[in-house]
């Protein structure tokens, strides 16, 4: 039986070879970082949307279907490639009267939704701080979404929503995020990125 003393084996690499190893490892790490960056760029690539009239600038994910002519909102982006409920980012503006508080707007919104959305239920209402440090109000809720086409056998989906209400320049800005309840937590990062890259 023969034993090899690996640890005790003396290195016979030259300095160039040693630097070669270091550079290889460094290059590997560099490529890895580049790959991660490329992947992130692809996965989290965004498109800028500016609405001068409303005073908003947002960055929404590439490939999402945007609608700027809808009723009740000035911007909406939906992930139509998603199987299941189409994750949605939406911005609305609400005119304010003197003496109106954020809570009044949310109550009005909830009343409206309770008449239209199935099983609408508020989960929480709490203060929130926007990435730019401004204070806002956060409301989370759930409802059951159904395909409006009565001729298809669509199965309803439970949706979790999040509204962030902030008051700027005398008007209320409502930023809404809607996602399938099963993927809501995972998708929340999309919303957070959207929020941090937006100006209102």
């Amino acid at each position: 039986m023969r034993f090899f003393d690996l640890l005790g084996q003396e290195s016979d690499l030259s300095r160039n070879q040693r630097w070669g190893h270091y550079l290889t490892v460094f290059f590997g790490l560099f490529c890895f970082v580049i790959a991660i960056n490329l992947r992130d760029n692809i996965l989290y690539a965004t498109v800028e949307y500016v609405n001068v009239e409303a005073g908003i600038r947002v960055n929404y994910p590439v490939g999402w279907l945007i609608d700027i002519n809808g009723q009740g909102y000035i911007f909406r982006a939906r992930d139509v490639s998603r199987i299941g409920y189409k994750t949605t980012l939406q911005i609305s503006t609400i005119p304010l009267a003197v003496g109106i508080e954020a809570r009044n707007i949310l109550d009005d919104l909830s009343l409206f939704r309770s008449l239209r959305l199935s099983n609408y239920k508020i989960l929480s209402i709490q203060p929130y701080t926007l990435p730019d440090g401004e204070s806002a109000t956060l409301m989370e809720y759930v409802f059951v979404s159904d395909d409006p086409n009565p001729f298809l056998e669509a199965v309803p989906i439970v949706v979790t929503g999040r509204d962030i209400l902030t008051i700027r320049r005398g008007q209320a800005i409502l930023i809404t995020f809607l996602a399938d309840s099963q993927t809501y937590d995972a998708d929340l990062t999309i919303f957070n990125r959207f929020l941090s890259s937006s100006d209102f």
Binding site: G63, W64, L65, I66, D67, I68, N69, G70, Q71, V80, S81, R82, I83, G84, Y85, K86, L115, R116, L117, S118, D147, P148, N149, P150, F151, L152, E153, A154, V155, I157
Partner: protein
Amino acid sequence: MLKRVAILGFLPWLLLVLIWINAQDSDPSAPPFDLERIQRATVFIMQARTTLDKPLITCVSSGTLVSRDGLILTNAHATVTNPDCPGDRLIIALTVRPGEPPVPTYQAEVIQANEGLDIALLRINREFDGRLLNVDELALPFVELANSDQVQLDETVWVLGYPGIGDDPVLIARSVILGFTAEPSGGAKSWFKINVDEASDISVISGTMSGGGAYDRSGRLIGIPTTAPITRQVAVSVCQPLQDTNGDSLVNQNDVCIPLGGSINVLRPSNFARPLIRSASLGLNIETISLDARPSTPFVSITPRISNLFFAPSVINNAPSTVINSLPTGNSELYLFFDYENMTSNTIYELLVTYQGVPSPIFSLSPVRWSGGQSGLWYIGTNGQPLPNGDYEFTLFVDGIAAASPKLLRVGGPPTNDPSFSSLAFALIEGNQAFGDGYVIATGTTATARFIYNNLENGTPWTAIWYYNGVELSPRGGGEWFESNLSGSQTVSIFSQNGLPPGRYRLALYIADRLAALSDFTIAGTRRDAYPLIFSNTGFAIADSDTEALTANRIDNYSNPADALYFLFDWSRLAQGTRWRVRWLVDGTVFYDQEIAWNGTEDGQNFLMRLTAPERVPDGTYQVELLIDNVLLQSELFEMGIGQLPIDPFARAEGIQLRGQILDSATGIGIPNVTFMLISEDYSVGDFEARQDQLYAIATTDRNGRFQIERPLQLNAPYSVLIAVDGYLPLPADGVEVDENTPNPLEMTLYLTRDGS
């Protein structure tokens, strides 16, 4: 040679066999249009009310979707709540799958109705469970209206509706137009008479199909099958108990029942519904602001009365041309005139005609709602269908009871040379000059009637009787006839030194004791040229309030957005009870048409009407017309904004319906919740920037992977398709084009391949 003969002899047989096979392939009763779309657009309507926390169905009928966002055209008698059909909600059931009974899906509300014409327009506004609905999200199949004035005699039509109380699928009855029924409310084509074709599977169209639709060869709606069930006469109505309404654990005749009506043999032409649809689709609302000129309070019903039945061979401005007791061979027009009193829009009337003692469905009119006023002169006429020689008996029923003695008429033989009066026309006489248009004349001291006489021998006794608001005026005119010719024209006048008061007049002419001619006319306004000046200072105004509108300048155009458009006019010498008509049009299409009895003072200023819409008054060219006795007395035009209505991109119902299934290519199983994007013809997939306004339509697959594009594809427009789904390779396609040879609906099966990366 023998071989050639054999081949030539065989060819005709082969041709015959091919023709036979071809004949077997085509079903003669099958409609030539997209039947499935129309079946889906046909809805079942249940009127319901809640009693003791329990919903109770009180009436059922059929209806038709006429817009993608849920406008439903149907009858008023089963949907507008009334004592015979009480309710607090309307439940709409759709045919989800052809061949199956309808499924309750929505609730609706009545937004427009004309109870007399028995037409109502509903709007789907709630989910079945009562949740409010965003109608903008609806993309329901709907039908377009045909121009029902172009319907021809003997034309084949297809009638669709639900034949039972909810457990039957949509029924299609191939029928044929037998003739037309005339009434003052709609002229020569007030009703289409239909008969079920022998090729159809059924023999009669049941009463619950009332409110459904009748379609021409192109699949456009030409009429609404209509009959009003007579619930007040239980013995003659069919009524089906459906629920245990009295809580005795039994469902029997002691429970509230659903009136089903008898059978249907008439269609209300779809053109009657156009004003309602136009105003509903634009959200236009007309209100009469002037307090002293609103329609009078609802009439408290007392027993309706019908009297003075007589026949006329033709009609001039809703008046009989002459009065006849028999009709020569070869005529296809006949009108039964009568006086009526105490009628309301809830009154149900019916005409039963027997020919040689046998009821004739061709000339009878099944029970329908009353579309006239409270009292006056009315007619029911038949035209288009030649009347065979023989004896006819006409009986009018009101609310199921014979309202007058039957009127007899013999058809046959050559034209008679009996003395006659005909073609009454009226004028105001001033300074030996005649003023007036024939049926509406200005106030003055002398009114004259010109008429034609035929075969009248000297010495024949004749009488002229004038009436004012139903009361006979004295003295009577007439005496012994004396003229130099047997035939010609003559006049008869009425004079009042103090002036003839405004109101409704009638002249009845008799030869011996026989009524020979009769006509009503109106005296109103003051003399101005040939026509009376009744309505003056007419014009439009834009104002922020009703009060402001009274002093605002009259204008004929306005370029800025406006919340309300006002129409004003002054009036003079207009007696209470005079029936006047106001008609609003936008871009040439009527959206408001109402004839009511004048309820205001005899003279006045600033009669105010207000037009509003949910947001603002839409751009367009508006027109208001004022009429009395079908005579147009005033008309004004107004341009709002660009003077043209905005184009509705969803107004077309025709085209190719696209639907299909998206499957996993590996498993062959449908993929649920996949988005199918149809890019409009202006963009290719390469141009598509994921903008909603670049899409023609969008759909999502159901649990079986099935999808349906509700907006029909237009012919020869190159669309693009894009399906991009997480986990699958994207499926883009440009140049998706349909033409007249494309099957409708177009079924598409698409396979998605999993993305292996």
